[in-house]
Symmetry: C2
């Protein structure tokens, strides 16, 4: 029933005006196998496909994990913790939006390595970038970038990472993953704050500071500063970043943490643009802004910065309005606190803008923006020289990022631009959201609090039987993830198209019907 | 004068019985340019070279940085902090033990990207490994290893990282760099300790623990546990690892730190095997053991683990005897505290054993051993299932390491085995140490406290005018680094041979004569 509902308002599929792109799969074994999974949607036949040789539909041969995967899991368990294992993947047979396993199953992947695959498995443009002499040299001659940068490092940054720098930010400190990217941003914030307190960058450290720092004691290691984060926020799992992570106890239990404050993140009623939710939501956002201001001005360990995600992405896909974020920017300006926007999961196109905070139309840009995941490298952008520490070696480590990963991000950026993938994601996101609206009408007990309208494909809904839905989805050929305690989160790649949206919607409908 | 001294006791250079290996440089432009640098030592002519097409000697055309490098540095400075920049490198022209810059200068590199290049620049075996379909797939299809491991992950671990696991350790948790490798080991230690206190892995968390952890408060986020480290130790720069780092104030200033204890590391008299130092050193080591035991039993935040480097590598190249480390192992066993050995800088062959702690001949292996740098990937080894947390997702992150880096480490291991490079390093280390002994006799004011005998090429000495020596070394074609406040540290690659040792010794003699 709903399947036909889903199709009734499909827009013209020829609206994409770009030239056809021809990709070839890396292996010849990943053709659709004509199995029993859902029939291909008609939209696939008429839409110009980024991966024309993708399977036309998921293929499910066995239960997952099947016998070959089971065997591989048992072997891996001997040396590696596999209790969080979701699926034993065969990446040589994965292609485009489809992930393959060892048993011949090929699933539509809207989880995408926890939101970290940007432009499809075995993307041929990335394959070419990964085969160049420059890439190979970067892999085998990895430099200590702070001491011995490679001569093309400026060019790699300028034509890659910095070519997509958020407005107002023109410098970067490269890192390895989201967690250390955030911690390095926190370190920059603490040094900035102490420099202000000290009276400027030319004021030398005192003997007491030098000595006490070696004993982890104040004033050298200050015990009265903090980073303010938000309830349900997620910023990583190392000791500093974990102190700002407020997602779930299982992430935090037994690990010492800093005494840093957390403000409430607005818990809004969806859809955000429904007039009947407007008053409640505005009030809730103001409450959270007031609480934030209270903590900024009264918390015993004074915040040097706040850190916030544009959408709380691990903590349950909690959205807020641009008003809230603009309010935060005003508060941080008013109280001389830095604003760090954690775009580790939201960045690089998934919300239909390159950076999710582009949706906010801020007057003053954030002070720092951190990135990782779809960038396939990590770091933080900043715009002010006052965020460069006053001396060398204060913000430093051996590798300071990885040129080979920066080269890959450059290739990803080029692919995004070539295929206009941010716009694609915005358009497909609208189509997908409309499909979920119809599905929610048909299955109101299965889809609750649908959210992410206007946010590209970065959609989510609450599901009263969430874990069961995630599991059942595999049986209909969909690999999908959750966030928080009850949300189903969609994290398709940027090459996700309307045909894939149809398959996803029809697959989930089958799950709801079962 | 000393140059002839250096040669008088040279052993037979044909003693290496392995077959000749033929490498080809990646570019054809890195031949020796017949410049004015020191003439090739005769040992190079007769020694079987790992890189036969290496320059026969360093080449210094211009002051460093020369005009082209200057220009590149100015460009990079606009977007990247270059105040710690040592040399703008051209890795396409670097080869074997030699690093090239943009002005045609080619230096013998005994710093090797802060001890992180294992088997030479543009090593052709690594070049081959970086060009395989498996490598390319790993680069462009990077998995979330904890959820969706690639099907060959067990095999990559078994044939690579785990094939060189320290004795007694058979599991690994992969990471990205030394700093997070240590933090993940600390997290494992804290979870282990709290599990013991709680009464076993089947005891559930209390409601109070669950709730308090979300507020960064005890008991969920315990405020009475610690990691004990040693004065002058270095374990990284993120918030947890930095709390155990005790190298220099510039690494720690302005960054909040945990209230964790530090014990004295023995400050010994060198050479360690000189009988007239024996009594003093034994007493000093006992003093440090006593202090450690005192802290283990009385510090208000009880240590769950100690972390220690086999040689304090950033903090000034401080050595201790196997007795000291065996004493520590006994103390940790006695007081039920874990022993984490940080082999980030010492590991992978540089001390003439694959792991530096192999020199200690421990009865019980360390509980965890961390690695990075020359491994070109990172993580920690462990041997006991009690160090796996009691539930999934407690030790987890998106990428959990990087299969492409694990593949590279496997190729490094194979190259080390093929060329017998650990033994090479042990032998060349003896030769180099003997050369430095003679140099120290000739220049006793320049070389003080020579150390590292029997530790491969992991040598160091104190230099009263250290920073000047490091700088002058470039003028004679040597790239060399320091550690601590006054040490010159040698960190050659594992492909460093006797001919390179001659060039190094003769180059430094010129510096001392100037």
């Amino acid at each position: 029933m709903a399947a036909s509902l889903l199709r009734q308002s499909r827009p013209c599929l020829r609206q994409l005006t770009r030239q056809p792109i021809f990709f070839r799969p890396i292996t010849s074994t990943i053709r659709p196998l004509g199995a029993s999974a859902a029939a291909a949607s008609p939209s696939q036949a008429s839409e110009q496909l980024f991966f024309p040789e993708e399977p036309k539909a998921p293929i499910v041969h066995t239960k997952i994990p099947g016998p070959k995967s089971q065997e591989a899991i048992e072997r891996l368990t001997k040396v590696f913790d596999t209790r969080s294992l979701n699926m034993m993947a065969d990446y040589t047979k994965s292609y485009g939006n489809y992930i393959a396993d060892l048993d011949g199953n090929i699933l539509l992947d809207v989880y995408a390595q926890i939101a970290s695959i940007p432009v499809g498995y075995n993307n041929s443009s990335l394959h070419a970038a990964a085969s160049t002499p420059q890439m190979i040299s970067s892999i085998i001659n990895r430099p200590a970038l702070g001491n011995f940068p490679q001569s093309d490092w400026a060019s790699i940054l300028e034509t890659g990472i910095l070519s997509v720098a958020p407005k107002g930010l023109n410098q970067v400190f490269t890192a390895q993953a989201g967690s250390d990217a955030n911690e390095l941003a926190y370190k920059a914030a603490f040094m900035w704050r102490r420099q202000q307190e000290r009276g400027g960058q030319d004021v030398e450290f005192t003997a007491e500071e030098l000595e006490s720092s070696m004993n982890n004691k104040s004033p050298g290691s200050p015990d009265n500063m903090s980073i303010l984060s938000f309830k349900s926020g997620f910023h990583g799992r190392l000791f500093g970043s974990l102190s700002t992570t407020r997602s779930k106890p299982i992430h935090k239990l037994d690990i010492p943490a800093f005494d840093w404050p957390q403000a409430s993140f607005p818990m809004l009623r969806y859809p955000l643009d429904d007039p009947k939710n407007a008053e409640y939501n505005a009030k809730e956002e103001q409450r959270c802004l007031d609480e934030t201001e209270h903590l900024l001005t009264t918390y015993h360990n004074k915040p040097a910065a706040i850190v916030i995600e544009p959408v709380q992405s691990e903590g349950g896909d909690n959205h807020a309005t641009p008003n809230f974020f603009r309010g935060l920017r005003e508060l941080t300006k008013k109280h001389n606190v830095l604003m760090i926007v954690d775009e580790v999961q939201t960045g690089v196109g998934a919300t239909g803008k390159f950076w999710a905070h582009d949706h906010w139309d801020l007057q003053d840009p954030p002070d720092m923006v951190t990135f990782s995941k779809k960038a396939q490298t990590a770091g933080y952008y900043f715009g002010s020289n006052t965020l460069r520490p006053n001396k060398a070696y204060r913000q430093f480590n051996t590798w300071m990022g990885d040129p080979s990963r920066a080269l890959l991000f450059r290739a990803i950026i080029q692919e995004i631009q070539r295929l206009n993938l941010v716009q694609n994601t915005a358009q497909v996101g609208e189509y997908l959201y409309a499909g979920f609206e119809r599905l929610a009408q048909a299955y109101p007990k299965e889809i609750v609090n649908l959210r992410g309208k206007g946010q590209g494909t970065f959609l989510a809904f609450d599901s009263p039987r969430r874990d069961e839905v995630l599991k059942s989805a595999k049986t209909v050929g969909i690999n999908i993830g959750g966030s928080g305690g009850r949300a189903v989160r969609l994290r398709p790649m940027l090459v996700f198209q309307k045909g894939h949206a149809d398959i996803l919607l029809e697959g989930l409908e089958k799950v709801f019907q079962s």
